[in-house]
Amino acid sequence: MRSLFALMLAGYALGAAAAVLRPGGRGGRGLVAAGAVLGGAAGLALALQVLLTGTPFVLEAPAVLSIADGLLFRIDRLGALFLGLVGFLAVPCGLYGAAYSEGYEGRASLRLLGALLNLFLLTMSLVPCAGNVLTFLFMWEGMSLTSYFLVLTETDEPETVLAGGWYLAMTHAGLALALAAFLLMATSSASTTFGDLRAAAPALSPSARNAVFLLALLGFGSKAGIMPLHVWLPRAHPAAPSHVSALMSGVMIKMGVYGLLRVGLDLLGGGPTWWGALLIGLGALSAVIGVLYALMEHDLKRLLAYHSVENIGIIFIGIGAGLMFQSFGLPALATLGMVAGLYHTINHACFKGLLFLGAGSVAHALGTRNMEEMGGLIKRMPRTALFFLVGACAISALPPLNGFASEWLVFQALLGGSAIPQPEVAVVMPLAVAMLALASGLAAACFVKAFGITFLAIPRSARAEQAHEAPRSMQAGMAMLAMACVALGLLPFAVVPILGSTLAGLGRVTPAAIELTRSLPLQVPGASGQMSPPLLALGLVVLLALLPLGLRLLGAERRGRVGDTWGCGRIGQTPRMEYTATAFAEPLRRVFAELYRPTRDLSIDFHPASKYFVQSIAYRSEIHPWIERLLYNWPLRGIRRAAVWVRRLQAGSLHLYLFYLTVAFLVLLTMARWWR
């Protein structure tokens, strides 16, 4: 284990070093990618070892940063799961990046991109390995900073800088809150190692526990992108290079989930019912509103970013249900909910990573992310199209792919709500069921739009006509993730027990409830139904194979002919006659008009001679996320006002600054002596 850990560190370090020393050229990019792949693979192997054997891996370095207990790494199963996730995505994204970063050749940012990518992966891998508060926060901050600079890779665009600003503000606010949560817990504990915190947690007063939970929820929720805290996500993710977006959306936001689980479930050991209910409520809200905004989005990567909000919502619903069942002392159902959430975490990493890589290939080939300029790419980029389709089916929860397996588990967990003795509390569950179903239906609609408009029909612009298939290494990255989507969909009976084992010993979930049957039909204790994805897939494949045979037996005509698209006899077809992405989403925009509050601006220029002849029509419609404005405008205004006030302190005089320092020092001394 120790050697694997070392190999992981070495791999990432190699990648970073290679990027700094020899960034350009095929070989240089290859070395950077090799570092990421090596590090990722080692991390994955280490994680698998911990997951399967169950023996935690511990590494102490008390000498480093010894003032605050030093660095401590301790990988238990829960941590290993998230470590494995990072490694699992690092490999395809690293491969993909080798060819993708060719676009940055000759620019200064290539060096930064390679180095920061490896450092980002390194720090992100170490977050779930942390064994004490210092290590955790140190790695967390490293992850946040490196990803911030990765977002800024294309600095020349003003939008990117703004996106980076949002991201930096949100992530640091989150860090502060998480720090506060840890400090609150540490008041009564011997040291800041997680073990001591866990031991001291029961002694905390209920209000302190609640405060810790809320602080952690806000802090980690802002990283995860849960509903009111999601604002940075659709801004920052599209701005980053695509393989970085894939990593950010696929795994980095999952670190928020990890943090919440670590604090809420592991360290605090669960809490009152309203914790779970709050998570379910926030999750359901995120799921529905995230997908609704995604539907209106025509920037392919922003669309995917909004879908991350949706999927984080689904994960939170699962985990919230788990916490809620736990508070009622229903271990089997609690495990089911948590496992559903964790399963969706993995699945989302796979398909969202895949979709971001696919979107990146398209953007790479076309030089635009606007869906209205795409179209017809399935003929020009057939492989990318196929991989993207797999991802689209998976995220739309279509059987037998992985999205369905985990959403099925979430549904089953929620259906268990009838076991809750208090109906007025249990009512949360059917409402969440309805919201989840709505979200998944809308997600399917959204991905019909995303795939159909991007890849099908005829090209909508000259750029789309001249598109070319992505290079081999990018294809390889996508292929790996597509296969993972299929495998995770077919093998839930193998995955679920492993996920269940990560929960053993956390909080009040008793290990007895985690023994899951390894039979072919997925039969989870607590779930009120069973299904078998492999048999389902087998059935579908057999039916699909039998169909042409049956048609031949029926004596069906086999001749075919290629003709024009039927257009009521009109002559010639241009891309302008096609259905656009905006038009596709129009019915839903009408239905949810109250939420979108679109502004319309229609101006028609009539012919001077007669108003029956139109010279030009200009139509503009915009959607303003009013919830965001409602929530963020007044704090922003407040901050601005505070900033204006603070500016007065700035005089540029060195003596003044020294004076401030002295005053601060005196205040600190006074506090240290008398404040208790």
Partner: protein
Amino acid sequence: MVAIIGFALGVSQAALALLLAPGLVGLVRWLKARLQNRRGAPVWQPYWELAKLFRKEVVVSSNASWVFRAAPFIVFASTVAVALLVPILLVPLPFDGVGDLLVVVYLLLLGTFFLSLAGLDPGSAFGGMGASRAMTVAALAEPTVALAIFALALSAGSTNLGQIVARTMSGPAAVSPGHLLAFLALFIVTLAETGRLPIDNPATHLELTMIHEAMVLEYSGRYLALIEWAASLKLLIFFSLLSNLFVPWGVAAGLTAGALTLAVASLLVKLVILAAVVAVLETRIAKLRLFRVPELLSVSFVLALLAVTSSFLLR
């Protein structure tokens, strides 16, 4: 041996559904014709139409890709797969462990998903319009379906179809208010999902009012035949779900000849009753404007919500 018999039973049940499905559509059409004081086409007319379509050539748009060619097969296969999972004649179902009600719902969504993609594929505005509307209706119907499943699972303790039917058959109270409300909710969803009035007009010739028709406007020959057959099978599946989940009288619990005959007879009676209800309804009401469809679906949503709450209370 038992497994083989079960397998054969499951397959033959689905095959029966597949064979009956076009007749069901023909029956609704015949009843509607009679209600319009017309003589109407015979009940078996859809069989002739399918036979004819299978013998015609296929014209495919030059813009279309493999998605367009694969979609009819995926739609048909997923619908037949659903037919294998749904109780039509007998319980316990041989394939009960393979999928539950949620699987059924999402398999049907799989078909709609690919059909919508195929609608977009040739680049025709009609297809795009149909796809957009079909996905809108499907997405908005989803919460109702999920809540109705919740209500059923609450009273039966399982989401697996065979078990729900078995539980309802053995239960003391045949009709509880929760069941009634869930039935109404699912009935509205059935109309929406199978493209009947007042959501979609199956007999329309005007492209602008179409949903399902607009999506398949580009299909011809055997592709069209597969899609139409699958659509009629979907209607039969929804009808038998409505009848067997809520009124499981006559569903065979054993393998005796008498029970099976009774099962077939009761299935036919139930299908005829539901077809008559749909035909009368389609004669009585006009198609809704597209933007009032969400209102109808929210009615069904409220009904399903009431079903869940009353099931909660009667538990």
